[in-house]
């Protein structure tokens, strides 16, 4: 039985206080649309705390997102933000980056947006090592459209278009990112908020194509249809199943019902970025013009 409110130490009541991270948010567009206990709020929170820690000039940071629940992140950050078409955030971001090479460009999108319709763009941007950071909130479903299964839905899990259980082999995102050439690959769950924030700081700071996957609850669609309980139950599941192994082989990061959730930093290597190589191999040959 929780203590009655009046017996507890009384707090001060302040009227003009506001959350210190509000300067990074379009407060005129809050509260956001995400469901109670959705992991997206946590992802956004970790992101703005990462920005705050990096003390970047907010005019030097842009966010590009695609379509879907995660796609709405662009609308909530108080930055130059671009809410593009489904799957096409990464090529848009590549154009933006090429036009403003010195600025940080961050793509913030979901598992369906980045790895189903956007998969072709993801693998090529990683191959080219375009200097952008891709943050993928992986909640194993197409939440915005009502809970269809997606390219990361575990085998056997349900979706509104997989009423008999998903019959397709899902992607292992760290493995995809690593094998295509990403120079930084990390996976955390939204429960591991502190480490997630740190990974975002590292990924944004590091030049080249950097990737952070966030395993995240979707209570309304994925959780409910797979009887995982509330959002907090998914976080409890993460607590129980997560295994942190930095430098693990991303090949081992497969997820299937009941499997461990391998998290940590899988890849951190150096590779010249697209524009660095373009400068070296193309522009230098024209410097005499």
């Amino acid at each position: 039985m929780p203590l009655k409110a009046k017996e507890l130490p009384a707090p001060e009541i302040l009227r003009a206080e506001s959350h210190p991270m509000k300067r990074y948010l379009r407060t005129d567009r809050l509260p956001h649309i995400w469901c109670s206990a959705c992991g997206l709020g946590t992802a956004l929170s970790c992101f703005v705390y990462a920005l705050d820690e990096m003390q970047l000039d907010l005019d030097d940071v842009g966010v590009v997102s695609g379509i879907g629940c995660t796609g709405r992140v662009a609308g909530y950050v108080n930055l130059d933000s671009y809410h593009t078409t489904h799957g096409r955030a990464i090529p848009f971001a590549s154009g933006l980056k090429v036009a403003k090479p010195k600025k940080k460009v961050i793509v913030f999108s979901g598992d369906g947006d980045l790895f189903a319709i956007g998969g072709n763009h993801f693998i090529h941007a990683a191959r080219r090592n375009i200097d952008i950071t891709v943050i993928c909130v992986n909640n194993f479903t197409y939440g915005m459209t009502g809970g269809q299964f997606g390219p990361t839905t575990p085998l056997g899990s349900r979706g509104t278009t997989a009423p008999y259980g998903n019959y397709e082999n899902p992607f292992n995102l760290p493995y995809v990112a690593a094998s295509c050439g990403a120079v930084y690959v990390a996976r955390w769950t939204s429960l591991h908020a502190r480490r997630l924030k740190e990974a975002m700081v590292e990924a944004i700071a590091k030049p080249g194509f950097t990737f952070v996957e966030i395993i995240s609850p979707c209570p309304t669609n994925y959780g409910r249809r797979n009887r995982l309980g509330e959002g907090i139950d998914e976080l409890r599941y993460y607590a129980e199943k997560s295994v942190i192994r930095h430098g693990a082989n991303p090949k081992d990061a497969d997820l299937y019902p009941g499997s461990e959730i391998l998290i940590g930093k899988f890849v951190e290597l150096e590779r010249p970025t697209f524009l660095e190589v373009y400068e070296e191999r193309v522009m230098k040959k024209n410097s005499g013009r």
């Binding site: 842009g62 930055l79 809410h83 848009f92 154009g95 040959k285 024209n286």
Partner: protein, 386 residues
Amino acid sequence: MPVNGILSGVHFMNGDEACAEGAIAAGCRLFAGYPITPQSEIAERMSYRLPQVGGVFIQMEDEIASMAAVLGGAWGGMKAMSATSGPGFSLMMENLGLGMMTETPCVVINIQRGGPSTGLPTLVGQADMMQARWGSHGDYGVIALSPSSPQEAFELTIRAFNLAETYRLPVFVMSDEMVGHMYERVVIDPERIETVERRKPAKPPEKFLLYEPGPDLVPQGMPLFGDGYRVHITGLTHDERGYPVIDAETQNRTVTRLKEKIAHNAAQIISYEERDLDSADIVIITYGIAARTSLGALELARKQGLKVGMLRLTTVWPLPTTKIIELAERIAGFVVPEINLGQVVLEVERVVAGKVPVRCVPHAGGDIHQPEQILHAIEEVLKDAA
């Protein structure tokens, strides 16, 4: 004010190369595209020339990505373009719609080839004209230019960039394989080249509304990534601030303006070449390569003492409706040769509204009309009118 790196003097080049040089002369510094016959010469030339002017060439993984990169590059501050042909043009449609909705200035060149589908990759066609007009989903205004020669390919590409910057939308240059691959003289005098530079916002960030239209219905200045305006760009229906607002009232205000900003400014956008219209009984309305064969028909008709004129559209969309209606008052009829089975002719018919006959001179593609075909159509219309 010529920018450095502009080719100048007299050159012998094909239409594709002329497009590339025109883009550079216009200040284009980002090309994002994908190889496709018969456009590849544009991409190849840009890959060679852009680094010489501090620009970036990026060959994307497909045309969808190319269009997205062009939009990103534009909001990053570059004059950006892509070039493609039918199949790629089809893939670009969704992101072209994003360019329309977000009012992003850029240029897309379509070197049309025989279609549909893979069609005739190396042979001429003009059957993407309605796709240029209605290709993406939803309502929006469109500007599409059409060159009939490499010289015009150079000039109209510059004009396309200027129109894109002025009216804040993707502008199409609808060329074709024949004009694209024909070699002709191209005379370039940098002194005579006029470019329109991107308009910066006149108001400070706190007072600025991203999509607040001016009297010309065009947003007032375009803040770029990092300019301190904290813009929010979205494909969702949005209000003047650029914030998504999902209701019919905002949809009506925003989307109607996308259409009106072209109709409202049509007089400044429309361009055509007149030939012997004053004395004409029959007028040929045509564009692109079809206009070159129409010249042959014009001569044949003249020899037979027929009074035939030509209205050559260098801007196909928007159509010069006033001019056509004015002609319809006094002539016997129109003949519309185009290398498709009747597309621009449908608009001419709609505008003429039965006042005089409008005869389509169709061609399924893969080759140009024979002048005699056009002459035959002229004689038919004259017979009907008699």
